[in-house]
């Protein structure tokens, strides 16, 4: 296959202290193919990707591009060899315009000093036209949606003539409309002779839709390489985990009275924009309420208002029968509310140990205080051990820093420490974003079981499959308002998707 392979990885091995992240991995990508790489977090996917992009160097094995062996010492080397990467956490400069971000580092020169923006514009316009990547290149990144930002990242790689475009979890942060466009785009890129490598941990249906081949990684080595024709979801799941996972069951939607009532909450954003514009909804005891919506429509602000990090300009929040509109985080936490932020940096501190992170939930509790001043670290260590055990968290030592854990394990630990305080209401914002399938199911399972004792969960997510899978009711947020609330049992993806983009569907209950 050497002749048609654009990139070939042979026997790539990479070790870190205590773990072999990549174990003799061989992988090749042909011109014009879409070759997906599947694997749980911890399977070695991200290490392999970083090796391909020059961030790490392999301990053994070689990389061949167009048949010739190369050494990639840095991302600059990788880019020069025609490898482009579209990151999951988009690496764009918010204050710069799209144009400036696209040409960053590859500015066409005018003379020795000036930048030839007109040449850049022409080229970008040509690329946009060719692949249908419509975007306002003079807009500032911070004003653009996640979907638009992703398109700009893609344009960046195309601007540098990438022959191989690697996508890191491309569909995990965009809505259904953007997803469809992306899949079409990927197909167009491949048809044009480039190769596309999406790195995915779940979202298997999308894999089937577009990929030509799939390589599955498990525990650092290649479990198998499959052609699309030979694929079935069960086969893939089995290859990834060795077993077929059942999907989480739907809880009954029979609620009782409301644990949380939000009425007309309004919060101004920067520059006078209303980020929350009269949000009203309620959460019944014992239910999982989903909040669907493309990111950037007020979900983060709603979370901050509920926790008390920001105060609403107008409106009321009633929790467990009491008005908590003016309460701050410490009070809300004490009252039995808990919040899992989308931004993991808000839920965990990477530099601190696992134990110190667990202590985030318990430091203010009298049970964990000795002599009024001292923190009972022994008890915290015990609690940590219990959580790690009960939530199947893979780690090195309890004194290791939090960031040495993989994403899935970090999230499980966070969920564990929060549930260990038995809050009456948990609001979880994209808790499964970027996580492997096993961790996702684990979290769904825990959340579903948690409501059995009368507690409630708000699940804010962009993943409709997820929402329809475990929620009783689904509310939809758009531009700072709730555009509708539907029963999960009877709602369709089209309906919800429509509400998410501001269309109001006329019919209901269509398949």
């Amino acid at each position: 296959m050497a002749t048609s392979s654009v990139i070939e990885l042979r026997e790539i091995t990479k070790r870190f202290p205590g773990i072999v992240a990549n174990d003799h991995i061989s992988f090749d990508v042909r011109r014009g193919e879409i070759h997906a790489l599947l694997g749980e977090n911890g399977a070695g996917k991200s290490t392999l990707m970083k090796i391909l992009f020059g961030i790490y160097q392999p301990d053994a094995g070689e990389i061949r591009i167009q048949g010739a062996p190369v050494v990639l010492k840095s991302p600059a080397d990788a880019i020069r060899h025609g490898i482009g990467m579209v990151h999951q956490e988009l690496m764009l400069i918010p204050e710069f315009t799209a144009l400036e971000n696209i040409i960053l580092g590859a500015e066409p020169a005018w003379g020795a000093v000036f930048v030839d923006t007109s040449r850049a514009r022409r080229r970008i316009a040509e690329l946009s036209r060719r692949y249908g990547l419509t975007v306002n290149i003079d807009a500032r990144i911070k004003d653009l949606s996640v979907g638009e930002r992703q398109r700009i990242e893609i344009l960046k790689t195309l601007f540098r003539d990438a022959d191989v475009i690697i996508f890191d979890e491309p569909t995990s942060s965009i809505g259904p409309q953007d997803k469809a466009r992306l899949l079409k785009l990927v197909r167009a890129l491949a048809d044009d002779g480039r190769a596309v490598v999406p790195f995915i941990t779940h979202k298997l249906p999308e894999v089937f839709e577009i990929c030509d081949r799939v390589t599955v990684l498990r525990n650092g080595h290649v479990e198998g390489v499959y052609a699309r024709a030979d694929l079935s979801p069960e086969q893939l799941t089995r290859a990834m985990f060795g077993a077929v996972l059942g999907s989480a069951s739907q809880p009954s939607t029979r609620g009782r009275d409301a644990i949380l009532t939000v009425t007309d909450v309004t919060l101004g954003g920067p520059g006078g924009k209303q980020t929350l514009n009269g949000v009203s909804f309620d959460v019944k005891r014992g239910e999982i309420l989903g909040i669907a919506g493309v990111s950037g429509n007020g979900q983060v602000e709603l979370g901050e208002a509920l926790l008390g990090l920001r105060r609403a300009d107008r409106g009321t929040i009633v929790f467990d029968g009491e008005d908590v509109t003016a309460c701050g985080p410490a009070e809300m936490l004490a009252r039995g509310y808990a919040h899992i932020f989308e931004d993991r940096a808000m839920n965990a501190v990477g530099d601190l140990s696992l134990r110190d992170n667990v202590a985030l939930s318990f430091y203010s509790s009298p049970r964990f205080t000795k002599a009024g001043l001292l923190l009972d670290y022994a008890k915290i260590a015990e609690t940590c051990a219990g959580i790690v055990e009960g939530y199947n968290v893979k780690y090195g030592h309890a004194t290791d820093e939090m960031r040495t854990l993989s994403g899935g394990n970090q999230q499980k630990l966070i969920l564990g420490r929060i549930l260990a305080t038995f809050p009456m209401l948990i609001c979880a914002h994209n808790p499964t974003k970027g996580l492997d399938l096993a961790s996702c199911h684990f979290i769904y399972d825990r959340l579903s079981r948690y409501i059995e004792s009368g507690n409630s969960v708000i699940l804010v997510s962009e993943d409709l499959d997820e929402l329809l899978g475990i929620c009783g009711r689904i509310a939809v947020m758009y531009e700072g308002r709730m555009t509708g609330i539907r029963d999960a049992a009877s709602a369709t993806k089209e309906e919800i998707g429509g509400l998410m983009t501001g269309d109001f569907p006329v019919s209901r209950g269509r398949g």
Binding site: F16, S361, L374, R403, G434
Partner: protein, 362 residues
């Protein structure tokens, strides 16, 4: 500096995909000592080279350099006296830095503490010594803490950059105190000296001229280490220092904890200031704490910002600075600022070795 290293080694964006990417904390804990040893070697090496090129006796010079502060009466007592303010000044920086707050106002806080405490030392008559000493020290601490309160309020309520504010307050404090020393606090004609303090306010001495302030300083460092490590307050500080956002989200009252921490850190310098008067000179004057704030910062830097390393770092700094008499003997060829030069070289060497070390470990 552990925090500096952590900042600069921040791994790439997607936190979800972090594999085990660094050795366990055991190995990297002792790495700073290696860097320090290396930079000490380099710095003394450079000085040795200079000495050698000037045709002087290198081994004799080094023997004197190390033996002088440790074996001679004057060298030893100078060193021990110096440790106290340097240690407290470095504690100011290191303690505030635990919550990510840059308190570089130690010089100013030293001055304010000095003048306030000296007033109490001069004017409160008829008190038994332990009461007088206690009040004097507390006033010095309190005055410094007041300056810290200004910093904390400005930072937490207005978002004012504390580096700029504390740095500039140094000048405000210095000139205000000097004005007082030429004004109401002037104890001698024409000179910015206060009147001598009352005997009941003097700090007890031992080993000749060494005052108990040294023991107090060491005790305070140990107490802060214990506070950070074992108490709830210390935990909250640590969380704030690593992630202010996560601290707020976890319900920590960052304004309260931050204000207390900053005030206490500033108080340490105020205490150091007044102890120079009551333990060393017996009266206050404008250049009493000349350079101490600066040496304190360097000492904190040598300690990598770690509270646990502050005492050895202060010893090293003190040792380097206490070769004054020795240098005078070589004063025909060596400048009298050679100790300061050496200190600067050590600090620079630390930056160099740490940066190269981080590069190599990638």
């Amino acid at each position: 500096m552990a925090a500096f290293e952590a900042e600069s080694q921040a791994t790439s964006g997607g936190a979800e995909e972090i594999e085990v990417s660094r050795p366990g904390s055991e190995a990297s804990r002792y790495l700073p000592l290696g860097y320090l040893a290396l930079s000490l070697l380099l710095s003394y090496g450079v000085i040795g080279l200079v000495v050698w090129s000037l045709g002087l006796d290198v081994t004799g010079f080094f023997k004197d350099m190390f033996l002088y502060p440790l074996t001679t009466q004057s060298g030893l007592s100078t060193m021990l006296r110096r440790i106290s303010p340097i240690l407290l000044s470095s504690l100011t920086l290191a303690f505030a830095f635990r919550i990510g707050f840059w308190n570089v106002g130690s010089p100013g806080q030293l001055m304010v503490g000095m003048i306030a405490g000296t007033w109490v030392a001069i004017h409160l008559q008829g008190l038994p010594w332990f009461l007088h000493v206690g009040l004097t020290l507390t006033t010095g601490f309190g005055a410094g803490a007041l300056l810290g309160l200004i910093l904390a309020y400005a930072k937490f309520h207005f978002g004012v950059n504390e580096v700029l504010l504390s740095l500039l307050l140094n000048f405000v404090s210095q000139y205000s105190v000097t004005a007082l020393l030429y004004g109401p606090m002037q104890g001698r004609p024409l000179l910015p000296y206060t009147a001598p303090i009352l005997p009941s306010a003097e700090l007890p001495r031992f080993f000749g001229r060494v005052h108990v302030g040294v023991l107090l300083a060491i005790t305070l460092v140990l107490i802060t280490v214990a506070v950070i490590r074992y108490t709830r307050f210390g935990y909250m500080m640590r969380v704030m220092g690593s992630s202010m956002a996560a601290a707020r989200a976890a319900g920590i009252d960052v304004v309260r904890v931050g204000t207390i921490a900053v005030c206490v850190s500033a108080g340490f310098s105020g205490l150091a200031g007044v102890m120079e008067v009551t333990g060393v000179y017996g009266y206050g004057f404008d250049t009493i704490v000349q350079g101490i704030g600066f040496y304190g910062m360097i000492s904190a830097f040598i300690a990598f910002g770690r509270l646990g390393y502050l005492i050895p770092a202060a010893v090293i700094t003190s040792m380097v600075l206490s070769t004054g008499e020795l240098v005078k003997a070589y004063s025909k060829v060596l400048p009298s600022q050679t100790p300061q030069l050496l200190l600067g070289l050590i600090a620079f060497g630390l930056l160099l070795t740490t940066a190269l070390g981080q590069r190599a470990s990638r």
